[in-house]
């Protein structure tokens, strides 16, 4: 029972790291980016290539996955995404689906369609028992790492200069520009950070979620649920939504395996009927 709760929390934490970039682009900047999973997949494949082809350590491949995905995100933001911030949602949907299709087929071409496996370092594998609760070492590692990241992210957003500049830029870009904030640069940085975190999440998730070319489509729904249910007020909303989703999904798969996917979709639809704008709505923003 408690083990399931623990696994669910680890899963939820991982989902949050994967989805928090989307919470900013979709939630705050109002860009329907269905291609977010592609950045996570990029991070996952960077890890796989580094570990399996070049034999590098897992700990080195994590920052590499973050950097690679962040650079990819920044490059795409500057060349393509930037033009579409003001475009109708239909255009954004089509554009990002197009990117997903390209990513799926491209990875299939270069890496093949099979599931990718990595072998974790020995100190992260296995389980130990604490007060009768079975705890996976790797899951504990994920929880600690993701909790630290979340804390850092929350502090950056609320306490630093760049955080308040970002909040100003998404609330009203024109006024923020008038105040001398370089909105374009803030958006590139934010987009790169979000993509980088997705890449890191993808790298951490190779072991937990699996990795194959269909990853962006398979987990798209989870990212979207986290953001739509979490709302856009802060990152606390998506964080709680991710934890809820993680626990519900793990518990659902454990107790009612045949109904597994039903529960997720049904809960999401019910949530959206009751609270179309998410758990917490943002005051004052546009």
């Amino acid at each position: 029972m408690l083990t399931i709760l623990f696994d669910g929390i680890a899963y939820g934490m991982l989902l949050f790291v994967l989805a928090c970039g989307l919470a900013v682009t979709l939630g705050l900047m109002n860009f329907v980016n269905l291609a977010h999973g592609a950045f996570a997949m990029a991070g996952g494949y960077v890890t796989v290539v580094m570990m399996n082809r070049y034999g590098l350590s897992f700990y080195w491949s994590l920052p590499a996955a973050f950097l690679a995905a962040a650079l990819l995100g920044a490059a795409l933001e500057v060349t393509l995404y930037r033009r579409l911030y003001a475009a109708p949602h239909l255009d954004q949907v089509l554009f990002s689906i197009g990117l997903v299709f390209m990513a799926v087929a491209g990875i299939d071409y270069f890496m093949g369609g099979q599931q990718q496996l990595i072998s974790l370092p020995p100190e992260l594998s296995g389980r130990f028992s604490l007060f009768g609760v079975g705890i996976g070492r790797y899951r504990l590692f994920i929880i600690i790492l993701c909790a630290l990241l979340t804390l850092a992210l929350q502090l950056t957003l609320t306490r630093t200069r760049i955080g308040s500049q970002l909040r100003a830029a998404v609330d009203d870009g024109r006024v923020a520009r008038g105040l001398g904030i370089n909105v374009s640069r803030i958006f590139v940085l934010t987009f790169a950070l979000g993509s980088g975190l997705a890449g890191l999440g993808g790298a951490l998730g190779v072991e937990l979620l699996g990795l194959d070319p269909n990853f962006p489509l398979k987990y798209l729904i989870y990212f979207m649920i986290v953001v739509t249910i979490g709302g856009t007020s802060s990152i606390t909303g998506p964080f709680l939504a991710a934890l809820l989703l993680g626990v519900a999904d793990v518990a659902g798969k454990y107790y009612l395996p045949s109904l597994g996917a039903f529960i997720i979709y049904a809960v999401m639809i019910a949530f959206l009927i009751l609270r179309p704008h998410g758990l917490f709505t943002r005051e004052g923003g546009k």
Partner: protein, 343 residues
């Protein structure tokens, strides 16, 4: 003295609803294709079915402005209903088509209340969620739907007791074409009626429409139901022409594909679905020969390019309007800019 407003409005609607030679030519060409390409009848049926499916999506995206990422839900339900009906009740195709339409329409009516609230994003998520729920359901309920294997062994009686389905699929194609033609006529009637105009008003600005005395919610429910009905018929046609239903009819890529088809052909003038279906099917047939495994990449590239270049600039209706405005004798009429998506 000018004529009363109601007469002006009626004349405006009639002028918009007038048949053009281009439209008539398109239908003649479609009919001729049944006899010109005897070996390609299956591909032609596929185009007609996809065109009908995209037409149904155009009704809600192009006219009511509702984005859907789960339109395959209705297509799939129509396909399964047609399959189950012909297996267990009656193998008469026209009854099966009608029953599928009713079932998909009822599902549309039931789920239309989900798209009334919230933003575009909420609608995308709810439509997506509904279609995934159905896909999961079809996969689990193996006793009814055959699970991952789908339904097979569907045998159909001749259409209306006279036209038998032949081996080359010509009857199938003509059947699909006839259904598409009739449904397009109905759709024309709907969008060129005052009801259709009020939908466009809702799409532009639903709050202002509400203030003008147009009730948005009721109209959205109606058009969503009609659209679901159309999509269900498209699904039923697929079942009846291929004699097979696979869980693939509910898959996510089908919802994405139909959106692409509609956008390729142009949103909001009914023929977009047909033009897009022709382009898309030929493109896919060609790409899957050139790169059998990676055609998805090129489809994605086309989507990205389409959006970055700008859908409006490639809109066929706009191109026609532009050509027409330059023709001598019509110089007074200016090409109407297609800025319907801007909000």
């Amino acid at each position: 003295m000018s004529a009363p407003h109601s007469q002006i409005a009626a004349a405006f609607l009639r002028r918009k609803a007038a048949w053009t030679p281009l439209e008539a030519g398109l239908w003649c060409l479609a009919l001729a294709a049944a006899f010109l390409f005897p070996s390609q009848q299956l591909l032609l049926s596929e185009i007609a079915i996809l065109a009908l499916f995209a037409l149904s999506l155009d009704l809600i995206v192009g006219y009511a402005g509702i984005l859907s990422l789960g339109h395959a839900a209705f297509f799939g339900v129509g396909a399964y209903t047609a399959g189950l009906f012909s297996l267990h009740v009656s193998a008469e195709p026209l009854t099966g088509l009608a029953v599928s339409a009713v079932v998909a329409g009822l599902l549309g009516l039931a789920t239309s209340f989900l798209v009334l609230r919230g933003s575009d994003l909420t609608r995308l998520m709810t439509t997506f969620g509904v279609s995934m729920l159905l896909a999961e359901g079809a996969n689990q309920a193996a006793w009814l739907t055959g699970g991952a294997d789908g339904l097979s062994g569907i045998l159909l009686e001749p259409i209306a007791g006279t036209f038998e389905f032949d081996l080359w699929g010509r009857t199938g194609y003509l059947y699909c074409l006839a259904v598409l033609f009739i449904l397009l006529l109905v759709a024309r009637r709907i969008v060129h009626s005052p009801f259709g105009l009020s939908l466009k008003a809702i799409k532009r600005n639903s709050r202002r429409a509400a203030m003008l005395g147009i009730a948005p919610n009721r109209r959205i429910v109606i058009i969503y139901t009609i659209s679901a009905l159309y999509a269900g018929m498209a699904g039923a046609l697929l079942t009846q022409t291929t004699s097979f239903v696979s869980p693939d009819v509910l898959a996510f890529h089908r919802s994405a594909d139909v959106l692409l088809v509609l956008v390729l052909g142009g949103v909001g003038y009914l023929y977009g679905g047909i033009v897009g279906a022709v382009i898309f099917t030929l493109l896919r047939a060609w790409l899957s020969v050139v790169t059998p495994q990676y055609w998805m990449f090129w489809i994605g590239l086309i989507l990205v390019a389409l959006v970055v270049i700008g859908r409006d600039r490639l809109h066929p209706a706009r191109a026609i309007a532009l050509v027409r405005s330059r023709l001598p004798g019509r110089a007074g009429e200016k090409a109407v800019p297609l800025s319907e998506d801007s909000r």
